[in-house]
């Protein structure tokens, strides 16, 4: 297993390197000058040249990439063009807020979807199955930004029981998860964000459970006279690798894919940061955030891969 873990870790290195090249190049492929929002519209050629040099944009792109990568591996992501603050600090703070949001959403989604999917898998073709599948389809189909707006209208505007925006009450600089006055800020974005993973994971769990239930060994277990809950444990153990793979992907998506939800709720996470960086074309923030999110995605998949292998050693491959 140790050799397998090391091998998988080594595989992750070229992937991370490739990701770094792609995310560095992406912002240059996008139309528009990187210094567009920094410079006044009628900036003279002399001003443009000076600022370009100051930010290192005068060098060839491969050289810029190597300088950037060299700094990144030492933890220096540069300074935000828009705010002048160190990019790493911005990313770390935003990521912390997103982890909080994503963890809450994951908890809701994984628990609910796993239970619903298992029930539906056991009752394929029944009204319960159709209800769960219908709910899952709605979860996958409803745009979460739309759900977010609906929740805001209901709970913030009409009922006025939850705050529409922000992360904690005015005057508090730290978020206290265990205080209702803070936690209520998390509630709506968390529920909104959990909708899509609920749909996807519930559907995956349903088909995985149904598939395992059709296998001969389940009949054998029943013939042996095992209790139904004991059989359930066997079924879940066999269905888990497939479900885990989807869960891993969903966690990765939640970390990077919450741009709209965070923007709607003005939740100061990585999605909000990314949105702002795109709008202001803040290259260092954009590159740094995309890279960190991509690495988190790669790392999450690695962890899930290892977990799958731990659950089912047959998956260990060369």
């Amino acid at each position: 297993m140790t050799a397998y873990i090391i091998r998988r870790l080594l595989y992750a290195v070229p992937i991370a390197l490739g990701v770094s090249i792609v995310c560095f190049a992406l912002v240059y492929i996008a139309p528009g000058d990187p210094l567009q929002t920094l410079l006044p519209e009628d900036a003279s050629a002399e001003t443009i040249a000076m600022v370009r040099k100051a930010y290192g944009f005068d060098k060839p792109i491969p050289v810029q990439y190597l300088i950037w990568l060299g700094k990144v591996v030492t933890g220096d992501f540069g300074m935000s063009i828009a705010t002048g603050r160190p990019v790493l600090g911005e990313i770390v703070k935003a990521l912390g807020n997103t982890v909080l949001l994503a963890a809450g959403a994951v908890l809701i989604a994984f628990t609910l979807a796993f239970i619903l999917g298992t029930i539906a898998g056991y009752r394929v073709g029944t009204a319960t199955d159709r209800a769960v599948t219908g709910f899952a389809v709605i979860g996958v189909s409803v745009p979460n930004y739309w759900l977010g707006i609906v929740l805001i209208i209901i709970f913030a505007v009409e009922l006025n029981v939850l705050p529409a925006t922000g992360m904690g009450p005015r005057g508090s600089d730290t978020f206290n998860l265990f205080e209702w006055n803070h936690f209520r800020y998390l509630l709506m974005p968390m529920v909104t964000l959990s909708l899509i993973p609920i749909g996807i994971i519930a559907r995956t769990t349903r088909s995985a459970v149904a598939e395992v239930l059709n296998q001969d060994f389940v009949e054998t277990l029943r013939a042996k006279g095992l209790m139904e809950w004991e059989i359930l444990l066997h079924v879940l153990k066999n269905a888990l690798p497939q479900v885990l793979a989807v869960m891993g992907l969903q966690f990765g998506y939640l970390m990077g894919g919450s741009i709209l939800v965070e923007t709607i709720f003005t939740w100061p996470g990585s999605g909000f940061l990314l949105n702002k960086a795109i709008l202001t074309r803040d290259l260092p923030v954009l590159q740094g955030t995309i890279l960190v999110l991509a690495i988190i995605f790669v790392a999450t998949n690695l962890v899930i891969d290892l977990l799958q292998t731990a659950v089912d050693p047959r998956l260990k491959r060369g």
Binding site: D33, L35, Q36, E41, S44, I81, E90, N160, G166
Partner: protein, 528 residues
């Protein structure tokens, strides 16, 4: 019985005093939802466009020349700020003699002195100065690029020497924020540290900042202009880029004042008792035209396009939240004048003009964006404009791109994209240079300036040269008026709308007067 009465009286007096004390201590807070995605930087020249100037720049800091934002009837103009007066040196038309305000203190307690202005000039111009900041240099260079040097003449007098004569120079001074030399020196020129403890001379002092979340300012009790000491204790600025969220935050009582509600949410806000304030705004939603490569080089085609537009229909699309744009600046602008032509909807005349130059149907390509800073509702507005143009004899192609791509088309000028006949980049018209000169002066041809389509007219150039040498305000105003009239008569742009920039305000907020400006004064606001 008597004892009981005394006891009751004592209790009521104590309770009354306690309540009075509580009322005296209750802090009045104005919470504003901005459209920005982050807190504008607090180191002098703000980012986030003019919203940064509006909320951070002019609140924390002062400029030598300020904007008079006290009324909403006519377009705002400049007034004394940290400078009480300015005049051109009678012996040298490149030397401005400026008297500085006495008795002004920085928020950190230091005195505002002439050397502060010299030091502030160095920080945005002198590359080898320890306090030089390249970002601040870039942010203000288009306003200060004409300054050669600053001289200290006395305890309260300075001279600013320009490279070229510029009668409009005081307007440029209104964008240049003065920051505290004392504070930045104390922080060893560390701008990151300064951003967390900025010091200006403005009507608000810095209280705290949580990046991406909020900036809190408190009133400066000893502001040099007693009329502008804020009438609320604290100002909380919250970035909230999504329009629906801003409306929801106002409706749920989380904020008191929101910027730019979308037109479709306004009826709901009004029905909830919110006040919608609007004013004609120095903001022009129009198309700059290509005067060299395509059909717009013919004046008849430019005029035809202007006659083809049914602006009341476009206004209806925006639920009435615009002023019909027939000219470059709104009619309430002092130098609007009385152009000899008004391009009211006349599709027959448009077709006739197109036929007169054998351009019927007349093929044009307009570059537009899907969104962007101040672009109002670009997609539906552009679709409607296209349908109106085509109905009058044009064959319009809309080249849709994202905002940054459109800026990249706009900045280098027509030469890089000669196939494009017009660009839809809305423009701020805050001062005469921004409103008129930069769009039509030959010396402003892109990429050097904002004259994207390379409009060139010797008569216009000569008039602008005269404006720069007209130090008498009355003479200058007459020439600016003439310039605007010439632009309209020559159909120098395709004009569509002037923004009215709606804001929504909670019923407990009183005293706000929306100035006809990109900048607004929040200090008179009372939060009940």
């Amino acid at each position: 019985m008597k004892t009981l009465k005394r006891l009751a009286a004592a209790v009521s007096v104590t309770a009354g005093l306690a309540m009075a004390g509580q009322a005296a201590n209750a802090e009045s807070v104005l919470r504003v939802a901005m459209t920005a995605g982050d807190i504008p930087i607090t180191i002098g020249q703000p980012d986030q466009g003019f919203e940064g100037y509006r909320f951070v720049g002019y609140n924390l800091y002062d400029t030598l020349v300020l904007w008079d934002l006290s009324q909403g009837e006519t377009a705002a103009d400049i007034k004394p700020g940290l400078a009480t007066s300015w005049e051109i040196d009678p012996k040298d038309n490149k030397r401005w003699l400026i008297k500085l305000r006495e008795g002004v203190k920085w928020h950190d307690g230091c005195d505002f002195v002439p050397e502060d202005v010299v030091w502030n000039f160095e920080r945005i111009s002198k590359e080898d100065a320890p306090h030089f900041n390249v970002k601040q240099f870039a942010d203000i260079r288009n306003r200060t690029g004409n300054i050669d040097h600053v001289e200290v003449l006395g305890a309260h007098d300075i001279a600013i020497v320009t490279k070229e004569p510029d009668a409009l120079f005081p307007y440029q001074l209104s964008y240049w924020f003065m920051i505290s030399k004392c504070r930045l020196t104390e922080l060893k020129n560390d701008y990151e540290a300064y951003a967390k403890a900025p010091s200006g001379t403005g009507p608000y002092k810095f209280a705290s900042v949580v990046p991406q979340e909020r900036l809190e300012l408190v009133k400066n009790e000893s502001y040099w202009d007693p009329n502008r000491i804020p009438k609320h204790d604290r100002l909380v600025l919250i970035p909230m880029p999504e329009a629906t969220t801003r409306a929801a935050a106002l409706l749920s009582g989380e904020v008191d004042f929101i910027e730019a509600p979308s037109p479709d949410t306004i009826p709901r806000l009004e029905s909830a008792g919110m006040t919608i304030v609007t004013a004609p705004y120095p903001h022009n939603w129009s198309y700059q035209l290509n005067f060299v490569d395509g059909n717009f080089k013919h004046k008849e085609v430019r005029q035809a396009a202007n006659y083809a537009l049914n602006r009341p229909e476009i206004k209806a699309l925006l639920n009435g939240y615009m002023v019909e744009g027939y000219t470059n600046v709104p009619p309430s602008t002092p130098y609007h004048g009385t152009p000899s032509v008004k391009y009211e909807y006349d599709p027959a005349k448009a077709a006739e003009l197109l036929k007169s130059v054998n351009c019927y149907p007349c093929k044009i390509t307009l570059a537009i964006s899907t969104s962007g800073s101040g672009q109002m509702q670009p997609l539906p507005m552009n679709e409607l404009v296209k349908s109106q143009l085509d109905a009058a004899g044009f064959d319009t192609e809309l080249k849709v791109m994202d905002w940054n791509a459109l800026l990249d088309v706009g900045r280098p000028g027509r030469e890089k994209n000669p196939e494009i006949d017009g660009i839809n980049i809305s423009r701020a018209l805050q001062d005469p240079f921004s409103a008129l000169i930069r769009h039509v002066y030959t010396k402003q041809h892109a990429p050097k300036g904002s004259n994207w389509g390379h409009y060139s007219n010797p008569a216009v150039d000569a008039l602008i040269d005269e404006i720069y040498l007209s130090f008498d305000p009355k003479v200058r105003m007459a020439k600016l008026t003439k310039l605007h009239e010439m632009m309209v008569e020559d159909a120098a742009m395709l004009w569509v709308a002037h923004d009215v920039n709606p804001r929504a305000i909670a019923p407990n907020v009183k005293g706000f007067v929306q100035a006809q400006s990109w900048f607004q004064d929040l200090t008179p606001i009372v939060v009940e």
